[in-house]
């Protein structure tokens, strides 16, 4: 009995010294960041080289394939709507009463002059679905212990071939992300903060994006309210809803 007890203790000790399973960490991150559906209101503060602008919007998303965003302010953007269905994106402009489909290289263009591209907005897939993770060490960010993971794409249609993410070791929320091109060049960096518990999950309420290839001071994305697992009517995710 004594021997079995010592063996169990040793096993536990050995396991605690072993590297954590990166894919398990990624699953836990996905559980926090992904949901059945979500309604969120946000403010996007774009720091340009000349001026800064603040854009307010409300977004509805169901799973990973449907999302609808309506811009609320400023007046120039008010009424502009974006609809994403699967891998297609449409934008409605009230000033011209036109629905324009965005495709090809335009998906890599900046949204409203921000550090986010249309492709960034569209790619809502779970990280574990598109990347293979590898644990590379521990680091401390803002006094919080993090797991550092290297993610390598396992599917072809990804915006970034690889990523490096720093995951809060306790809350399993990314606190920092770096996105790389196939060539290994760093393309974007984001820092996530103001992590709050919403409906039983940890969620970052502020994300600062920086396109490193673009001059300027980055884009601050603040979620002012977020609700998970709501009843969202199906008609919202139709092209007809864009003109309403």
């Amino acid at each position: 009995m004594k021997k079995i007890f010592i063996l169990v203790i040793l096993t536990i000790l050995l396991m605690s010294f072993a590297d954590p399973d990166a894919n398990v960490i990624l699953d836990k991150v996905d559980k926090n960041m992904s949901s059945k559906n979500r309604i969120s209101e946000s403010e996007m503060i774009i720091h340009g080289r000349r001026t800064s602008r603040e854009i307010k919007s409300i977004s509805y998303s169901v799973g990973l394939k449907q999302s609808f965003t309506e811009y609320l302010s400023p007046a120039r953007e008010q009424g502009t709507k974006m609809l994403k269905l699967e891998n297609q994106l449409w934008i409605y402009s009230p000033s011209t009463d036109r629905i324009i489909q965005i495709s090809g290289h335009m998906l890599r263009q900046s949204v409203m002059g921000s550090d986010l591209s249309y492709e960034d907005l569209m790619d809502d897939r779970k990280l574990s679905d598109i990347y293979t993770a590898k644990f590379t060490g521990n680091e401390t960010i803002d006094s919080r212990n993090t797991y550092v993971l290297e993610l390598i794409a396992k599917v072809d249609d990804v915006a970034y071939q690889s990523q490096k993410i720093w995951v809060d070791a306790e809350r399993f929320v990314p606190l920092k992300e770096e996105m790389f091109a196939k060539s290994g060049q760093l393309l974007k960096r984001s820092t996530l903060s103001d992590v709050k518990q919403v409906q039983g999950r940890w969620f970052p309420m502020t994300i600062i994006y920086k396109d490193v290839l673009k001059e300027g001071n980055g884009t601050e994305f603040k979620i002012t309210s977020v609700k998970f697992d709501q009843n969202i009517p199906d008609y919202i995710f139709t092209k007809a809803a864009l003109k309403q």
């Binding site: 120039r76 324009i100 489909q101």
Partner: protein, 424 residues
């Protein structure tokens, strides 16, 4: 003696025909190629000046550093004031504002949804002001394939290639989608007033030409422009004047340490055009060098052959007591006469061919559609006063040089051997 030599040259065609043909051909090629090369390089410079660089261009420092990305968020502001000041300070220039923007050109179906779309490069110039020099400067009227110039705001010209690809006709609506100066989404619907074809792939690929005011409204650039271009009123680029203008502009308008300060760039400082201008200016010198070098060798050989053929003649003349120096001088005189005849004929032919190419040019549009550089579709020669004498003196020099080298053989003749040689 000149008359005597001239008669000899005319009567003895075997003595003069080949050298005259060689000199004529050489001078013809020098004159024609100099004019043609100068024309080509000047055309390349001119088309770039008209469409992209101006004789001088003013941009903000920050825009200039990233100009390939068409970064209108870094564009010039307070442009009306800037233009007014420029017109007062530098009245010998024409000043125009332009906007360049990139985006998508979207063709709607009957429900207003996307039927087709392609990448677009938008250029906004003053199209609507009566007598605007921009229409002629950019050759817009002549490049219209269908329809006409915009006559009111909200009308635009689009590339004929794009119109054909997406089945767009004049009177149809198209939407330009991109970003405003502030980064907002820009949607602007235009009525197509006509289609354009410049014969240059850069300009013809997804081009949309609109009035500057339309662009300013659509892009939130009310008193802003991507760039201000300046053109010398006589239409000819003068680098010395441009340098003086640039120095004066820098002292009056530029602000140290401000990335949005306006900065002036001369034509030669943009798109590698300085090298083209240098090549154009040295085209004549390059051709003359090749001609004098190559023709001297040919004419030297011709002279040697002539010397061999006239071996007996020179021998008899020496035997009759004519001095070697005199014979040598007469061959030089003969060479001068031959040089003059060949140079006059060659210059005439070269000028004629250059004049023809100046008027009609060589149309390369069929093979230049996929060339990414801003190149003219028709290459034309340029007849300049320099062409009238450019080939003449080298023609003369090459002939004299050739004969002078060949004529040294006369001095190697031994008088004591003459009768022996003549018996043979």
């Amino acid at each position: 003696m000149i008359k005597f030599l001239f008669r000899g040259i005319i009567r003895d065609k075997s003595r003069s025909l080949l050298p005259i043909i060689v000199v004529t051909l050489g001078v013809f090629l020098t004159v024609f190629m100099s004019g043609f090369l100068k024309g080509i390089f000047n055309d390349i410079t001119e088309i770039n000046a008209k469409f992209t660089t101006g004789h001088v261009k003013i941009m903000t420092r920050a825009y200039g550093e990233n100009k390939d990305q068409l970064p209108n968020d870094l564009a010039l502001m307070d442009v009306k004031n800037l233009l007014n000041r420029l017109k007062l300070d530098y009245p010998y220039m024409d000043w125009v504002q332009r906007i360049h923007t990139g985006g998508l050109l979207d063709v709607p179906d009957s429900l207003g949804e996307t039927r087709g779309q392609g990448q677009a490069i938008g250029t906004a110039v003053d199209l609507l002001t009566p007598g605007s020099p921009e229409v002629d400067r950019m050759n817009i009227k002549k490049s219209i394939v269908k329809g006409s110039l915009p006559v009111k705001q909200g009308e635009a010209l689009i590339s004929d290639d794009f119109a054909k690809k997406f089945g767009v006709s004049t009177g149809d609506k198209i939407t330009l989608f991109g970003s405003t100066m502030n980064g907002s989404m820009m949607f602007k619907t235009f009525v197509v007033s006509g289609t354009l074809r410049f014969g240059n792939s850069i300009l013809d690929r997804g081009a949309i030409f609109m009035d500057i005011r339309d662009a300013q409204l659509a892009l939130d650039m009310d008193d802003a422009a991507s760039e201000v271009l300046g053109y010398f009123k006589d239409g000819i680029y003068n680098d010395q004047k441009a340098q003086e203008l640039q120095a004066s502009f820098k002292s009056k308008y530029s602000r140290q340490g401000d990335e949005f300060s306006p900065e002036m760039f001369r034509l030669v400082e943009q798109e590698g055009l300085g090298d083209y201008l240098k090549l154009g200016n040295s085209a004549g010198a390059i051709m003359v060098f090749i001609f004098v070098f190559a023709m001297s060798i040919v004419l030297w050989n011709t002279g040697l052959l002539g010397g061999l053929r006239r071996y007996s003649e020179f021998g008899i003349r020496l035997a009759l007591g004519e001095e070697k120096r005199h014979i040598y001088i007469t061959t030089i005189y003969e060479a001068i006469i031959i040089g003059i005849i060949g140079s006059v004929i060659g210059t005439g032919m070269g000028l004629g061919a250059a004049y023809y190419m100046q008027n009609y040019g060589l149309d390369i549009s069929a093979i230049s559609n996929n060339i990414g550089m801003m190149l003219p579709s028709v290459y034309k020669a340029e007849v300049t006063p320099g062409l009238f004498y450019l080939g003449f003196f080298p023609g003369l020099i090459a002939t004299v040089l050739g004969s002078a080298l060949a004529g040294f053989a006369i001095y190697k003749r031994e008088t004591s051997q003459l009768f022996h040689e003549l018996e043979v």
